[in-house]
């Protein structure tokens, strides 16, 4: 009797969770369905699955809106930003986590405090600074802004993970008289690799999805990122919803792929701030 009621409660919970999952997934399914419909079919039957395999929307995106180029742009900007951000952040995080010197904690507090400054408070002067040195409408502006503004949170996450590295190993290489960069490349970097992967996943998806920064700094259509192009160029054809939705779908594929591959890392990274 008891087990029967527990079983039925668990079944009700399962149904509730399944309904929420359908609600969460439906818009994505709708997006995928709509991207394979001609405009007329989309208007007539917005809910139904597509009647035929129809790829003209994607072809239009590739040929008329040079999608390959947009993807290339975005991958290039994200890749460069990632390298730049890590080059700046890893030594700083190691220094905060494991080296001992005066005012270390004070510096750390300043670094973490910059995390709370809202991005909009420095976007106007930065835009003018970039246009003064002629970097607007140039990839450098986006890469620099992305990389630098991600430094505080990257350092924060890496520092809290590097604190867990065993001191004995570090002491041992210090005793061996290994040079700083040797220690860095042979021990510190390999040991903190999971953290580096986690933080890079978060940064990369944030950058891929970012609208404001590339929207403001890049004006030419051939320099735009996928996200900005979908929001601006495709929006000019906003009555053609299947075309827009195909663009949205393609813009979402890389983040979804990253999520499917690196789920575990994302779950761990997300709670670092929460449990601290």
């Amino acid at each position: 009797m008891k087990t029967a009621s527990i079983r039925s409660i668990r079944f009700i919970i399962f149904i509730a969770l399944a309904i929420i999952a359908i609600l969460a997934l439906y818009p994505l399914i709708y997006m995928a369905f709509s991207s394979m419909k001609p405009t007329l079919e989309y208007i007539k039957h917005p809910m139904a699955p597509p009647q035929t395999w129809y790829f003209d929307n994607f072809q239009a995106l590739i040929y008329r809106f040079s999608l390959v180029r947009l993807f290339g742009n975005t991958i290039l900007y994200v890749g460069l930003s990632m390298v730049a951000c890590l080059l700046i952040s890893i030594p700083a995080a190691y220094s905060f986590a494991k080296l001992k010197y005066r005012f270390r904690n004070e510096f750390y507090v300043v670094m973490i405090a910059t995390m709370t400054i809202p991005g909009v408070t420095f976007i106007i002067p930065n835009y003018l600074l970039m246009s003064k040195i002629g970097w607007t409408d140039h990839i450098v502006s986006v890469v620099v802004i992305w990389a630098v503004s991600a430094v505080p949170s990257t350092v924060f996450l890496l520092t809290s993970l590097m604190r867990g590295m065993p001191d004995e190993v570090l002491e041992a290489i210090k005793m061996d008289g290994a040079k700083y960069y040797q220690a860095m490349t042979k021990i510190i970097l390999p040991m903190s690799l999971p953290g580096v992967v986690t933080v890079s996943i978060f940064n990369a998806t944030n950058w891929w999805n970012d609208l404001l920064t590339p929207l403001i700094y890049l004006q030419s259509d051939n320099l735009k990122t996928v996200t900005v192009a979908v929001a601006t160029v495709l929006n000019r054809f906003s009555s053609d919803y299947p075309l827009l939705l195909s663009g949205l779908l393609l813009a979402s594929l890389p983040p979804i792929a990253i999520y499917i591959i690196f789920q575990g890392y994302i779950r761990k990274g997300l709670v670092v701030g929460a449990v601290k």
Binding site: L17, I124, N209, I256
Partner: protein
Amino acid sequence: MSLKQERWVGLLSLLPAFVLLAIFVGYPMFNTFFHSFTKWDGVTSVFVGWDNFRNILSNGDLPLMLRNNLIFLISVPGILLISLTVSVLLHEEVKGWRFFRSVYYLPAILSSVVIGFLAKSMFTNRGVVNTLLEKVGLGHFTVDWLNTVPTEFMILILCFYWQTLGQGTLIFLSGLSSISNELFDAAKIDGTSWRQRLFYIVIPSLYPAIFYFTIVNVIYVFVGLFGLVYSITGGGPGYETTPIDYMIYIQAFKSGNMGYASALSVFLFFIVMFITWIQLKISKRLEQ
């Protein structure tokens, strides 16, 4: 490595990060503070004292923007409750719970632009939402969702919830899994009911996670709504759905009122600092 060497290595490792932050965060911030007292079109700036701030307070935009931010602010407890409920249900570990957990986080990985335009296309006059309503016989509930202010807010908040559910669920689940099993079993042996365990063990031990989630999302509704507003309403009609951060974008990059926009940024800066201050106060209390 001697202590002296260690100090130099330590400080030199910090140098690039701090130099770049000074150039691209520190300097611009002071610049913004300075220009909030000027009339500024990006080229020439004229000192006008407190005029921008007086303007903000008197031209009627501020109550409207604050109202808009406030609407999003009071929507935060809603998603908090939903995420809490969902994570408590997930924690029962019924069949397929891992799959559900993955599905719930999927929207969080997408751009606000994707979320926004997707929702917009679903809520058009002949979109799926109205079609569905007609099909299930609720045809008289069909509304022109994107053209009245209350329903526009509803769509914006719906998108915000859709984006945030996964984040909340993951944070609370990790909090739940840190509750020790002994405590739970002891409570069970003492004959406590499921509801008592929920209110006396589960919820109290989730306080830090609840607090963290709330702060992150309160800050988000002040500084993170740009993408959603841009793609769904564009801030309109008029400024009816324009929160502060979107107004800064409009004033600076659409109208060229950079002085006024700077003053708004300063205003927003202090709002966020105030929230952070409250966070520090409360988290000290929680630690005790």
